[in-house]
C-alpha cells in the first residue's frame, strides 16, 4: 500500500487510500471507489455509490434510491439522521448534507476527537432534500467541486423565476423548452421548486424523461410534492410540442431524442453555467446557475462555522482553496489526492 502523503497524519480518523477514504477505527470506507468489505455511502450518485461491496451503510431516507441504483439484493444497513452507531472504536452518525434527498455527512468520533466528512453538500434551500446541518468538528473533510471565488450562487428562487420566464418566452415563440439537469437530484429539485410557483395547474404540460421519471417514486414516498407531470413519450411530444417543459438529463441534449419536440430551446441547470465560456461550450440556448454543490462562500462559511482546525479538501480544483485557507485563514489545509491518480 502506498504511504499517505506527509501532510496526512497517522492519527487522522480518515485516511485516503487506493480504495477511497478509509476510517481505521471503524474498519470501513466512505464512498469507496472499488469493492470493499464495508462501505459507508453518503448518497446515491454514481461517483459515490458503487456496486460490489459486501455490506453497505447509508442514511435511511436515501436507502430506496440506493437500492434502485445498486440493486435490491445489496446488504444495506440504514441509519436515521442523528442516530449514533458504534463501529469498532468509532461512534458514527449521519447528518443531512442538503445535496440530494438522503445525502449525508458523516460524523466520526473517536476518543473525543471529531472528524466530519461532508460528502457532496450545499447550503442553499432545496425543497427536494433535507437541509444541510452544521456539525462542529476538529477536522473537516469537505468537497470542493467549485473551489474558486467566481463560483457564488445566486438566490435559487430568482433562478426559478428566470426558468419560468424562459419557458413563457418559448411558448410564445412556439418552442418546446428542454431543461437539462442530472437525472437524480437536480431534475427532482427543479420539479419540486416549480410546485410552489405553479401549484397543481402549470400553464402547459410538464414532461419528464424516463431517467428522471424512474426516480420520482422514492421522492414522493419521502413526502416531496411535484407538479403534475407526464412521461416524455412520442405521443405526449406530438400533443404538447411547442408548449411543454421537458425535464431531461444533460446527456439527452443534442441527441435525436429531442427531435420529436419540434423547435426547441435547450437550457442547462448547473453551477458551471456561472461561466459564459462553459455556457457557450454546452451549445445550449440558456444556462441557469443552479448547483447542488457548495459554492465558494458556502465552503468558507462551513469551514469557519464548524470550528475546524484542519481542513482536507477533495473533488475539483482544491489547490486554490487550500492555499487560500492556509494563507488567508491560517488553517492547516490539505488537498486530498485526486481520484484519477
Amino acid at each position: 500500500m502506498p504511504s499517505p502523503p506527509p501532510t496526512i497524519r497517522p492519527t487522522d480518523l480518515v485516511v485516503p487510500d487506493a480504495g477511497g477514504l478509509f476510517v481505521p477505527a471503524a474498519d470501513l470506507w466512505i464512498d469507496p471507489r472499488r469493492p470493499v468489505p464495508r462501505a459507508l455511502v453518503t448518497h446515491g450518485h454514481a461517483d459515490h455509490a458503487r456496486s460490489g461491496s459486501e455490506h453497505y451503510l447509508a442514511a435511511a431516507s436515501g436507502a430506496e434510491i440506493l437500492r434502485l441504483r445498486l440493486g435490491r439484493e445489496i446488504s444495506l444497513q440504514t441509519l436515521e439522521f442523528g442516530e449514533v452507531l458504534q463501529v469498532g472504536d468509532a461512534r458514527i452518525s449521519l447528518h443531512p448534507a442538503g445535496h440530494v434527498l438522503g445525502s449525508a455527512q458523516v460524523r466520526i468520533e473517536v476518543g473525543g476527537d471529531v472528524t466530519v466528512v461532508t460528502g457532496d453538500y450545499k447550503r442553499q434551500p432545496d425543497p427536494s432534500a433535507e437541509p444541510f446541518e452544521l456539525v462542529p468538528c476538529r477536522t473537516l473533510v469537505s468537497e470542493c467541486t467549485f473551489g474558486l471565488p467566481v463560483y457564488r450562487w445566486p438566490d435559487p428562487s430568482g433562478v426559478m423565476e428566470e426558468v419560468l420566464r424562459w419557458w413563457e418566452e418559448n411558448r410564445e415563440a412556439g418552442r418546446t423548452s428542454i431543461l437539462c439537469g442530472y437525472a437524480f437530484g437536480k431534475a427532482q429539485r427543479l420539479l419540486a421548486s416549480l410546485t410552489p410557483l405553479l401549484g397543481d395547474d402549470p400553464p402547459a404540460p410538464i414532461l419528464v424523461h424516463g431517467a428522471v421519471e424512474r426516480l420520482l417514486p422514492p421522492y414522493r414516498q419521502a413526502g416531496i410534492h411535484f407538479p403534475p407531470t407526464d412521461k416524455a413519450g412520442v405521443e405526449e411530444a406530438r400533443a404538447h410540442k411547442g408548449r411543454a417543459l421537458v425535464i431531461a438529463p444533460p446527456s439527452a441534449a443534442g441527441t435525436p431524442w429531442t427531435r420529436k419536440f419540434g423547435p426547441v430551446s435547450v437550457g442547462f441547470a448547473s453551477g458551471w453555467m456561472r461561466v459564459r465560456g462553459m455556457r457557450r461550450r454546452r451549445a445550449g440556448d440558456r444556462g441557469f446557475v443552479l448547483s447542488d454543490h457548495v459554492d465558494w462562500d458556502g465552503l468558507m462559511d462551513t469551514v469557519e462555522e464548524t470550528g475546524a482546525e484542519r481542513v482536507l479538501l477533495t473533488h475539483g480544483a482544491a489547490t486554490a482553496a487550500v492555499r487560500f485557507l492556509r494563507e488567508e485563514r491560517g488553517l492547516a489545509a490539505v488537498e486530498l489526492p485526486r481520484e484519477d491518480r
Binding site: V150, V275, M278, R281, A320
Partner: protein, 550 residues
Amino acid sequence: MKRFVRLFVELDRTTRTTEKVAALERYFAAVPPADAAWATSVLMGRRVKRAAGTGQLREWVAEASGTPLWLVEESYDAVGDLAETLALLLPPPGPDAPPPPPLHRVMEDWILPLPELDDEATREVVETAWRHLDETERLVFHKLLTGGFRVGVGKKLVTRALAAHAGMDPAVLAHRLTGPWSPDPDTFRTLVDPDADLPDAGRPYPFLLAHPLQLDPLEPEGARELGPVSDWIVEWKWDGIRAQLIRRDEEVLLWSRGEEVVTPAFPEIEEAARLLPPGTVLDGELLAVGDDRPLPFAELQRRLGRKRVGPKILRDVPVKLLAWDLLEDGGRDARALPQAERRGALEALFRNLPERGIPLALSREVDAPDWEALARLREGARDRGVEGFMLKRRDAPYGAGRERGTWWKWKVDPLTLDAVLMYAQRGHGRRASLYTDYTFGVWDGDDLVPVGKAYSGLTDKEIRETDRWIRRHIVEKFGPVRSVEPGLVFELAFDSIRRSSRHRSGVALRFPRMARRRPDKAPAEADTLARVRALLPPAEGHGPAGPGDG
C-alpha cells in the same frame, strides 16, 4: 446601459445569425441616436483610447472583493475572460444601487475622460461605476473599459442590421461606416440617413476579402466549379499587409485592412502617390523588399505602428505597394465594373508612371494555358517566397467583405513536421478552462526545443481528449503555462519557415496549426531540429525572384 446590456446578453445567447441581426434591429429601434452611435462603434470593434490598465483593474477588484491577487489570476485562468472574471469576483451592488446611466453617458462621462486622469481619480470613477452596475453590466463595462469588445458580431452583421433599420443599401452604409467617424448623435443621424449627401474625402472602400480555395481545379468537381483558367486573373500571392491607397484632391491616405491610417509609417509611398492623378484608389499589398526579393513579414512589422520613421529603418526595410486593383478611377467609383475592365484601367494608369525607382508596382498576371500548367508553377511558389496564387474572376465586380466565389487564394500545400507537445495553456472564450493552446517541440539530441505554438485544427472532441490527457501529465506550472510529459505527437502544418534569432530553435513557423494527432507515433519518433532546419529556404543572396519580376 440597461438596454445595451440586454443586447449583449441576447447576442451572447445565440449562434444564429438571423437571431443576432434581429436582436440588433430591435436594439436600434429602441434607443436614441446618442446610444445607437456608441453601440455601433463598439460592436464594430472600434476602440477608444484604453481607459484603464488591466493590471490596475485586477488590483482594485482584488481589494474590493477581499481576494488575494494570485486568486484573481487563478480565477481568470479558469474563466478565460478578464472582464467576466472581475465581474464575477466583485461583491454584488447594494439593494438601493442607483440605476445605470444610458450607454452614451457611460462612454462620455466615465470612460472617455479616464486617460487624462491619474490613478486615484481613475479608481474613483471605476468604483462609482461599480456602484451603479449589476454583475452583467459590470462585465460589459469592463469590456468597454479595456477596449476589447467581441461578442460574435462583426462589422458585417452590425451593418446589415443597421441598414435594415434605416432602410438603406448595406453597401452604401458599409462604405460610410468605414474609416473614422465620430460617435455623436448628429453624425450618426447623417450616417444612417439614406438621403444624406456625405463627403467622402479620405474614406476607404470596404475591402473585398479572398477565401481559401477548398476545391482542387485538377479534379472534375473543381474544374466544373471554376471553369477554364481563362475566366480568371491569376497573380502570385505575397505575404504582406493588405492596403488601400487613396489619392483624392490634395490628400493621400494609406489604409490597412484593419481600417487604420498607416500613411505616416510609409512616407515613400505617400510621396509616390502624388504621381497618381487625383481621384484614384488602389487596392494592393504592402511588401518589404530588399534588392528585389521579399523580406520576412517580421521586417515589415517593424515599419507598422510608427508615427515617424527615421532614415535608418527607411533604408533597412524598403517597401513597395504592389497594386492589383483600381477601385476609383478619375474620381468615379469603379467597383461595379468587371474585374478585367478594372485591371485594364489599372494597367493604363501604370503606363503613365515611371517603371523603376518608385515604390509602386503593378501586380503582374501569371500566364498559364490551363490549370495543370498553373499547378506546376504553384509547386515552385515557395522558392519564389510567395504563398501561392490569387484567383480573381474576370467578370466579377468588386464586392464588399467576404463574398464567396469572386476571389480565391490558392495557397501552396503546407509544410508539415511531427512535433511533441511540450507546454499547454488554457484557452479563452468558448474554450475557457480547457487546455487548448499548445507549444510543440522537436528533438535536438536528447532535448526537446520548442518550434511553434498552435491553437487550431482539432475537433471539439479531440480538444477534450487532449485536455484530459494534459491534466494527468502535468509536470510543472509556470504561471498559466503547464509543462507536460513528452507523450503526444502531432503533425503540424505551416505555410513557411524562416530563420529567427528570437526563438531558441533558430526557426519561426508561419501560421502553424495542428494537421492531425499522431497516436501511432512515439515521442522519440518525432522530427529532429536538423530535419526542420533542412526545410529553411536557401540562404541570403541566392534568393527567389522579387515581386517585380512576377
